[in-house]
């Protein structure tokens, strides 16, 4: 999948300024001296005074730049002192700062996929995208030495060879954009298994969940999905599969068949391969089996997701042999499950 970093450090983004407005020609612009930042400048701006950080950069898009005016800049107001906001602590492992899509086109269209928290952050076989015409700063600190991914796109340039990406990381822009203890590495294979691959983020689960605040729930039996940080209202459908199962195809099928229905429009649906440990006589672990976790999340109550779960179960039962599905069951936060039929 493609995972796109949402925040930016663009001059034109008013949320990056403490006065919630892009500075104009009567304003004094202050970058904190010690704030290491890479700023992307898309257009032309008047300034009265700008104090630059001791270490930082301004990337100038074609046609972008700065100028000064004599006297007052009309339409700018009386002039204020405005600070670039501190976003140095934005973490790679914060699932709220990423959006996922199946393709680059989907990403540009805003056709995003929902996933459990662990998989909202880039997985080891994902293409990571930092928006073109945009700069950023991300803290990659983690307990691991490296964060492997398939590719990283920065400023419109896609890196999928480690030698070139290392060079970029050691450039001034690279050093300002990627901070923290772990090194992002590219060149990882894409997921070669049609039934999906292990995201690889379980080792970061605690770090990921430290950034997440869980909402309060009012359903009867909240569910805790694998790879997620919070209990949810909704349903978890478990798909058992065999040869011939294709996760991407199945995801599209479910989206087209069911999620387009008006009654399910408030439901978010995520699919991931999880490894369920098998226990001999229910007690002694002797291995793991992969299965597909289909998570349907729905607000604080989760009243429609049980219906969706039944739709998915019935579809699996009637078309399972064509889809490579050998079995399916579900649990809903209402308390009901596929066992109770």
């Amino acid at each position: 999948l493609h995972k796109q970093w949402i925040p930016d450090t663009n001059y034109e983004n008013k949320t990056n300024w403490d006065k919630q407005a892009v500075p104009c020609g009567n304003d004094i612009v202050q970058f904190p001296a010690q704030r290491r930042v890479s700023v992307f400048v898309e257009t032309t701006h008047a300034v009265r005074e700008m104090k630059l950080p001791v270490d930082g950069e301004f990337i100038l898009n074609s046609g972008a730049g700065f100028y000064v005016v004599s006297g007052k800049d009309p339409g700018c107001g009386a002039g204020v002192t405005t600070q670039f906001r501190d976003s140095e602590s934005l973490q790679w492992f914060n699932p709220a700062l990423w959006q996922a899509a199946a393709t680059l086109e989907d990403l540009q269209r805003g056709d995003f996929l929902f996933s459990v928290h662990d998989e909202s952050v880039p997985c080891q076989y994902d293409d990571v995208v930092f928006k073109a015409r945009s700069s950023f700063g991300v803290d990659t600190s983690s307990s691991q030495a490296s964060i492997p991914v398939k590719s990283v796109s920065v400023l419109g340039e896609k890196f999928d060879r480690q030698s070139e990406f290392s060079k970029y990381l050691s450039s001034r822009s690279g050093q300002l954009q990627f901070r923290g203890s772990s090194v992002v590495t590219v060149g990882n294979q894409e997921c070669g298994d049609p039934s999906g691959c292990d995201c690889g983020n379980s080792v970061h689960h605690q770090r990921i969940c430290n950034t997440v605040t869980c909402a309060s729930l009012s359903c009867k039996k909240p569910l805790l999905p694998a790879g997620h940080c919070c209990s949810v209202c909704g349903a978890i459908i478990t798909i058992h599969y065999a040869a011939g199962f294709n996760l991407q195809t199945y995801r599209q099928r479910v989206h087209q068949l069911f999620l387009t229905l008006p009654k399910y429009k408030s439901i978010q649906l995520g699919m991931s391969k999880v490894f369920k440990s098998q226990r001999l006589m229910g007690v002694i672990p002797f291995g793991t089996t992969p299965e597909i976790q289909v998570l349907a999340v729905e607000g604080e109550k989760g009243s429609q997701s049980e219906g969706l779960a039944w739709d998915i179960i019935n579809d699996a039962r009637s078309h399972g042999s064509n889809l490579g599905i050998t079995g399916a069951d579900f649990q809903a936060s209402s308390g009901s499950s596929s066992d109770q039929t």
Partner: protein, 97 residues
């Protein structure tokens, strides 16, 4: 002007093409990519000054200096006191015929 060239399609490689104004440990650095220029353009009576020196004027002085040097190479400069003295000395030793 090239500024008005068609917009770069999203996703094209422009990372190294964009000029930067950056600060490096308090040094102020203006940098451009390969085959790109840093240009100082004055118009009318505008000036570019580097620490109170008028850059345009000094650069024109370089060419004036070069011209003056070439002239001295061909036609000589002033006559040094050393030569003047020697010539005068010789002058006193000779008589007009």
């Amino acid at each position: 002007e090239t500024r008005d060239s068609p917009p770069i399609p999203d996703g094209r490689s422009v990372a190294n093409d964009q000029p930067r104004m950056l600060s490096d440990d308090g040094h102020l650095v203006f940098s451009t990519g390969d085959r790109k220029e840093i240009r100082f353009q004055t118009s009318g009576s505008g000036l570019v000054k580097v620490d109170n020196e008028d850059l345009t004027q000094l650069l024109s002085q370089i060419k004036t200096n070069k011209g003056d040097i070439n002239d001295i190479k061909v036609n000589g400069g002033g006559v040094s006191p050393e030569v003047t003295n020697k010539l005068n000395l010789l002058d006193t030793r000779t008589v007009q015929r």
